[in-house]
Symmetry: C2
Subunit: 367 residues, 2 copies
């Protein structure tokens, strides 16, 4: 079987398509980023959206993670069972969310910080803290070029930080940014890193001038993870994708083939068409994300074979660059373009540790 | 609230993001395609991958559907509770699948047909029929230009049909094709329809010459649904997307705005950036599928506002073509590019029937 070394795990009883994690590689990836962060005096608070699993989160915490980052209240509730330090990197602005955040404060002892970019979101934190009976931390979010969320100008950041500091129940803990627009190496990335460094210098000095020096400055995405130390004032990195990596991280240069810890196990279902083979991993298993190169993924053990087309239940392997001709029923392992969305599509994970195969639940999936 | 007529349903207690179905529109869509099929002497066996719900399947059957089409054994098992006529439009080639198909045959009275394009898949049917204790129908699949699955040449179809007819436990019921490469109207589509018509003439006449006249010829996708009668020999259409429709069907011309029965309810979470608003429906709710035009969706009630960027938990609305400036906390309804993959991402569906709001389970989701 392609994707399995002789003497490796036996997937024959595993139904496909299904996400598979190489646990030894995931462990090594966690150690690698943790060691990097420690060597530069940075904390590592990985975003768990990549794996959505409490056991994988424990592995990160054991490797030295300071706490965890989450995007949703569901993820926060699930991860509150494994850490007492959570960053909720998403504004909570409607009543159902405020109520749920209040409950998290009331029913756990977790230190919760929330990223905000508006007075409405600040008001929500104030209300959640009042109902929850204890303080909540706030990080003011700065847009650094992705144009998604975050305040675009330094004055706006200082103004919101002032309001946070004056709001009962809400602690001003610092600054958050997400440089998702910077793609690793190259001249363009170098220039963007310099612009970002200048921006961070300015916002931190303006905050300090206003008596609001940030204790935490949270950044660090996987494409630029190994360059996090180039940015001034950053105290922690949230890089999460680096636990598994994917085809896009190969393209960004943040990961090498030996760092690929996740793939989707699939079965060849048709070879009727010349130069192609259809597998049962479609967009419902790999996700149709156009990043990391043309197509939607590559074979783990035959990177010259790409997935050129995806429909919901079909992935089309392009055999034009290989002499390999798979048989119907043969198993392959596909590295998706974007691992986080692929993991979110799995019912659970097949976790391979040497010859042992386990199923790990994805408790953080869903809403 | 955008997306709600005065006196319409009250979504304030509904957490977002979540898929919402306008039941009156879904009912009208089902009647429309059923009437069209009946007026041309075609059977309608809708693909349920679009909705994955037994209640929505019942609605289609009540509107006149002959049976249902499914892609996975899980969908087949679920839909076997509401119909006795199933087309499993996917080859079943590995042992776990054969065992599960045998169980479906043994434990239900459903008439099951399976589309195949290889001897391996035929052998699987033979084995499933043997273990299941009764016959299974086979449709031989012809590739008509999508290059996904299906035999590419007429001789191959005739040869496999011959083998089916000679295989114990497997009934040769006819032909299946999926013209997913044809996009509705226009000169290119007209030409492709003519090529397809010629191809169908030829394969049916060759089958007839071999004494294997197909009883069923199954085609009919939503983009070309209203042109199904232009193709010779077709006896049934599988069009499923037309129950809800989406932005891609608007682009194909198979649906008009009043036929849009599905949208994703979302909450505005940030307006920090000029000309944009962030909502909480990201790729985990809408799916990042590049079809139907640029971007990833449009607002149901403000089609001039598009989703220009998606990350997992963020959708970015482009406000450059509108004077409307949403407030944080405001609700919007987004029509995704591709409804089937969006539905697959929902935990369940909010179904609106006049002023009544219900939650319908998606029993066919998952594997």
């Amino acid at each position: 079987m392609s994707g399995t070394a002789p003497g490796g795990p036996d997937f024959s009883a595993v139904d496909t398509p299904i996400g598979v994690v190489d646990l030894e590689r995931a462990r090594a990836n966690a150690r690698r980023v943790s060691d990097y962060a420690a060597s530069h005096g940075l904390a590592w608070r990985p975003h768990i959206k990549t794996h959505k699993s409490t056991r994988m989160a424990r592995l990160q915490l054991e490797a030295g993670a300071r706490g965890l980052t989450v995007a949703t209240l569901h993820e926060a509730e699930v991860m509150a069972t494994v850490t007492d330090d959570l960053l909720l990197a998403y504004p909570q602005v409607s009543e159902p969310r405020v109520a749920r955040l209040a409950e998290l404060l009331a029913e756990t002892k977790v230190d919760v910080r929330v990223a905000i970019d508006s007075v409405v979101a600040l008001d929500g934190l104030h209300e959640a803290a009042r109902r929850g009976g204890r303080d909540v931390g706030a990080l003011v979010e700065l847009d650094v070029g992705l144009r998604r969320v975050g305040l675009p100008d330094v004055d706006g950041v200082v103004e919101l930080a002032r309001r946070v500091a004056a709001t009962e129940g809400v602690r001003f803990d610092g600054l958050m940014f997400y440089a998702g627009h910077i793609r690793g190496g190259g001249a363009e990335a170098d220039a963007a890193m310099l612009v970002l460094a200048g921006r961070l210098e300015r916002v931190v000095s303006e905050l300090a001038a206003a008596g609001l020096e940030p204790e935490l400055v949270s950044g660090g995405t996987t494409p630029t993870v190994w360059r996090s130390h180039e940015l001034p004032h950053v105290t922690e990195i949230r890089s999460g994708t680096c636990i598994f990596n994917d085809r896009d991280q190969l393209a960004c240069g943040s990961a090498a083939p030996e760092h690929l810890a996740y793939s989707v196990l699939a079965t060849v279902v048709s070879t009727a068409l010349e130069g192609r083979a259809a597998v049962d991993a479609g967009s419902k298993a790999l996700a149709k994300e156009e990043r990391g190169g043309s197509g939607y993924g590559i074979l783990l053990d035959r990177p010259e074979v790409g997935v050129v087309a995806l429909s919901e239940e079909h992935g089309m392997l392009d055999l034009s660059g290989t002499d390999w001709r798979p048989a119907i029923g043969e198993r392959v392992r596909i590295v998706p373009n974007h691992v986080c969305v692929s993991v979110n599509l799995q019912p659970d994970l097949v976790v391979v540790d040497g010859d042992r195969i386990e199923r790990w639940p994805l408790e953080g999936r869903g809403r």
